[in-house]
């Protein structure tokens, strides 16, 4: 198991955490943890963006496969459905 230190925040910047995380965690795992720990609305869908590299992390891709490295900032963004 190999861990890295990253910053996770919400798109509106009202939630932010610095944490050490396993590189095998997927985008979906991190979103689920953020929704649970920060009590984000559960009737909204979210994606996760590596703001350092400017790339969206695929839901089932691990942080390792998504080339997330120490010090990166990941942002939980809503996936908007209304039009």
């Amino acid at each position: 198991m190999s861990n890295i230190n990253i910053i996770i925040r919400t798109a509106d910047k009202t939630r932010k955490a610095e944490l050490s995380i396993d590189l095998q965690q997927t985008g979906a795992d991190i979103i689920q943890s953020a929704v649970e720990n920060w009590s984000l609305p559960t009737d909204t869908d979210y994606s996760i963006v590596n703001t350092t590299s400017g790339t969206t992390i695929a839901p089932n891709a691990s942080l390792k496969d998504s080339a997330v490295v120490d010090g990166n900032i990941l942002e939980i963004q809503p996936v908007l459905v209304a039009g």
Partner: protein
């Protein structure tokens, strides 16, 4: 007259009015964002604008819809929006299609658009439009809003065979939420309360402005090499731009080959119906088909089933309750994959009730659009 109308545009060095005037654009969904996009494209002088929407205007739409008036309530959204933007610029060509784009937009027509702007309000329609655009290699601009955020996503399919599609990065929760609306596979649940998402003209106009800007860039021939997403917080002005990478496990595009062949065929199943030299080759249908149903209590013999062969989406879960014994004992058979042999032997004389059939081989994806 026409030159004078666009004279200010001609002063902008990057603005190619001649390309804009020959451009063909479709807007799917004429609600809050669709209204603003249609207005913007018309004022820019986009030569041909097609509007699609099955929905009718309700009084609550008027707080976000610049093209609708109180006396329009009850009328089709696409029809009214088309009439109003035609008045904004009589020089442009405007068409409207009052109905579901899935039924009204043939694939060869989709191919002719410079781009399609997705302004719908649900994931099912976005996924269907994504399918049309990935298969026809038509540029897609997706929009989404809530009360605070605006999202615009650009999928430059026309010039890039290896580009992420809308589904490549779609969260799993979207599929879970969609599936929760159905029971027994693809039968609609009888009572589903749709979540109402509050929005304002602020986020819808912001989304439309950004989407129109991206459409203009595509029309002007700007090269997008990757799919991209822009998220703007309308309250703070903070924005975030990110790229989408292609997902090798994407259920929307990972089976699609680099070479796509699109053809047309009659939907009628006859003895000559043939889409492959191999009668055992499987063909996938674009929509799930309700093949048959049978009450296991009233008709224990498996051969005593009622053959339906219609789009599963046209039925709801009430079908699983037997009208004779009133028990929830009806088994339904829903398929989205058939062999030629199976179709000819079991369903000759019927029409295949879907938009298209899809075949895969090692080199090519073949799409047979049904007429």
């Amino acid at each position: 007259m026409t030159f004078e109308r666009y004279q200010r545009h001609s002063l902008i060095d990057w603005f190619a009015q001649d390309l804009v005037q020959t451009a063909k654009v479709a807007i799917i969904g004429c609600g809050a964002v669709g209204n603003e996009v249609a207005k913007n494209l018309a004022l820019l002088g986009v030569g041909s604008i097609d509007l699609y929407d099955f929905d009718t205007i309700e009084i609550h739409n008027l707080t976000r819809s610049v093209l609708f008036r109180e006396h329009d309530v009850g009328k089709n959204k696409a029809e009214v929006a088309a009439m109003r933007i035609q008045k904004l610029d009589p020089n442009i060509k405007v068409n409207y299609f009052a109905g579901d784009f899935w039924d009204l937009l043939p694939l060869d027509k989709a191919q002719n658009y410079n781009c399609i702007l997705c302004c719908v309000d649900n994931f099912e329609a976005r996924i269907k439009l994504n399918q049309i655009c990935t298969l026809t290699r038509t540029n897609l601009i997706n929009t989404g809003i809530d009360s605070k955020f605006t999202q615009v996503e650009v999928f430059p399919f026309a010039n890039n065979k290896q580009v992420a599609c809308y589904q490549c990065n779609l969260p799993n929760t979207v599929y879970e939420r969609m599936q929760a609306r159905y029971s027994c596979g693809w039968l609609k649940k009888i009572a589903v309360t749709e979540k109402k998402i509050p929005t304002t003209i602020i986020t819808s106009s912001l989304a439309a402005a950004m989407a129109t800007s991206k459409a203009l860039a595509l029309i002007n021939g700007n090269e997008f090499t990757k799919a991209e997403s822009i998220l703007i917080n309308s309250a703070t002005g903070v924005s975030s731009i990110s790229n989408f990478e292609q997902n090798n496990c994407c259920i929307g595009c990972h089976t699609t080959k680099k070479h796509i062949f699109i053809t047309k065929s009659s939907a009628n199943i006859t003895s000559k119906f043939n889409f492959s030299d191999n009668a055992k080759a499987e063909v996938n249908t674009s929509d799930p088909i309700l093949v048959s149903y049978r009450c296991v209590k009233c008709n224990p013999n498996t051969n005593d089933c009622t053959v339906v062969f219609k789009k599963a989406d046209d039925f709801d879960a009430s079908l699983t309750t037997c009208k004779q014994c009133n028990h929830d004992s009806v088994d339904v058979v829903i398929q989205d994959s058939f062999t030629t042999h199976e179709l000819i032997n079991n369903y000759a004389g019927k029409k295949i009730p879907v938009k298209f059939l899809r075949l895969e081989n090692k080199q090519q994806t073949t799409i047979i659009e049904l007429e």
